[in-house]
Symmetry: C2
């Protein structure tokens, strides 16, 4: 096995098949923790860097070269398809996405048009450039899920409270579903472009779904995420579904149509395995903050995660959220070595 990305440890673990060793990659592995990333990004805006296939290729490869992880993840940002669909936004360093005209009225929602594959040809091009470089290492495509995208569009940027988002959700449910339906279309098109170009798996990031109760998630969010995930079923690549603070949502996030449920560090992997059941693999879930502790602690906690992960159908080792920019990349490399040695 492992001579092709489609038969890699990552893809096999996602499917619950036997693996020679637990595959490991890190959310935000291609990012600010790496000096070579900071160097190549110097003076280049985030959106611009996501649109240049040469930069996407180099940045995506950096952590694979350095850490020997078992998967690459396409360098992009969850707002890239929104910008490509004509929404005026930027990614501001230190802040995050900033939307010029937040989406709050029916007229605003009507402005959200479908994405066409031609809008993101640079993404397909980057995937095509990456595949020969990666060889047997699988490339994970990704997109933001409709709820998380909606929260940025409605709030106008990052939020702690999601007040305006929830105000639309509770107050104008029809408008809400119209918006999320449009975002599901955009997300599905964006992921299909990546799958058609050759990615071996996809991750749907519903980063902020943890702001919701399970009942609200099932009513207002899950149908749209499920449409994205089921729309990829025939593509035959594993679908990973991840959010933060989703202790009460893990079952529903699996039911939405994921092959793999991503788990943050708050829920132990063995408990998560019992919640999602035998039909799903798990990804996670070392607390990214643990990487700032002495190595003995990192090793002890990583071994605990591996041990608890054995309760799952399949286990993709990862952090419980993204790599913090301040992380020592040497610790990440050592962690990969440890996971590979166990």
């Amino acid at each position: 096995m492992s001579n092709s990305p489609a038969d890699s440890a990552l893809v096999r673990a996602c499917r619950g098949l036997e693996v020679p060793r637990t595959p490991v990659w890190f959310m935000r592995q291609a990012g600010r923790s790496l000096p070579e990333y900071r160097k190549i990004r110097a003076g280049v805006g985030m959106l611009e860097s996501c649109r240049r296939p040469d930069l996407v290729t180099e940045i995506t490869l950096q952590p694979v070269r350095r850490h020997d992880v078992d998967a690459a993840i396409l360098f992009s940002d969850i707002v890239v398809p929104l910008a490509a669909a004509g929404i005026d936004l930027d990614i501001v360093a230190g802040t995050g996405p900033v939307v010029a005209e937040p989406i709050r009225t029916a007229a605003d929602v009507a402005r959200v048009r479908p994405l066409t594959p031609a809008d993101v040809d640079y993404v397909a091009e980057a995937v095509r450039l990456l595949l020969p470089e990666l060889g047997a290492t699988p490339l994970i495509g990704f997109a933001g899920a409709p709820f998380t995208l909606a929260s940025y569009l409605i709030e106008g940027g990052p939020s702690r409270t999601y007040l305006k988002t929830k105000a639309m959700m509770y107050g104008e449910p029809q408008l809400w579903h119209d918006l999320l339906s449009r975002l599901a279309d955009i997300t599905l098109t964006f992921l299909r472009v990546q799958v058609a170009a050759g990615v071996s798996a996809v991750q749907l990031f519903d980063s902020w779904a943890g702001a919701l109760s399970e009942a609200d998630y099932r009513e207002f969010v899950m149908p749209h995420s499920a449409r994205v995930l089921s729309g990829l079923e025939s593509a035959g690549v594993p679908r990973i579904h991840f959010g933060v603070g989703t202790a009460v949502l893990l079952e529903a996030m699996g039911e939405a149509g994921a092959d793999v449920v991503g788990v943050d560090w708050r829920t132990p992997m063995d408990r998560a395995a019992a919640i999602v059941g035998p039909g799903h693999s798990l990804q996670g879930n070392l607390d990214p903050a643990i990487l700032f502790a002495p190595w003995e602690v990192v090793e002890r906690e990583a071994r605990r995660v591996l041990e608890q992960g054995r309760a799952a159908r399949g286990h993709v080792f990862n952090l419980g959220h993204g790599v913090m920019p301040e992380t020592d990349p040497g610790v990440l490399t050592r962690l990969v070595e440890l996971i590979h040695s166990v």
Copy 2:
């Protein structure tokens, strides 16, 4: 019943005794949602307002007058006892607590000295002024729990990631326990002052404990919170214990020695009741964002919370987190009327 605060619906619900109606109050009911609060606070710094018994009294009474809630909560801030114990900090509008010299080394921890009751005589004075004004309405005292206080002291202010906090917790557990032990002493003294002055209940706010897994909570946090809560046992007032995003911590937060476990909106009250068991009452848990929805939605969701709360030994109706500053106070008043009418 209800002719004395000690026999009020709030205190009885906390103890799991029969009540004539479900008591209701709101976290941050004395705050920026009220125009009379914004008026009285104009030009007065937050810490100063917490140290002036006349202001504390007036601000604490404002929501009781306006909303007819079943409890007052002492106007203060969780960093008040830290400042009173000599830590140089301020509460900056729009930011939160800012600590001049964050606590990160053994020498820093050694600087954290005990609080003496005389350091917070203005708090005792405010309670004494409030009691005759409140009559049969109980006054809830409060303090921040050791973990949440530590996070502000170590980070130097509010945080999204608690990186430095967790770095000390994992990397220097002895120093961590030393710091939390000192903070538990301060918290216990601060609450004892309030109890001695006559509050009818206390709430221990571990606002940010939800950043932790249950295993870490039990190892690094619970012993210190338990010492605070057990140190109040002989005082005979109910102890409410609250944090946000604590779906995986509810059982442990009850075990720590709470009479009442506060629940955010993510966990339905009936599920929370099953988790904490028959030995604890519950407080919560309407999503504060629902107050921005049309009244029919507010009413439907409030009735759902009441219905699900019947599974608990006792139920204190509240929001699942604090009142947002942008909330229409008229909706809060109407919500109290609704709860009282059911």
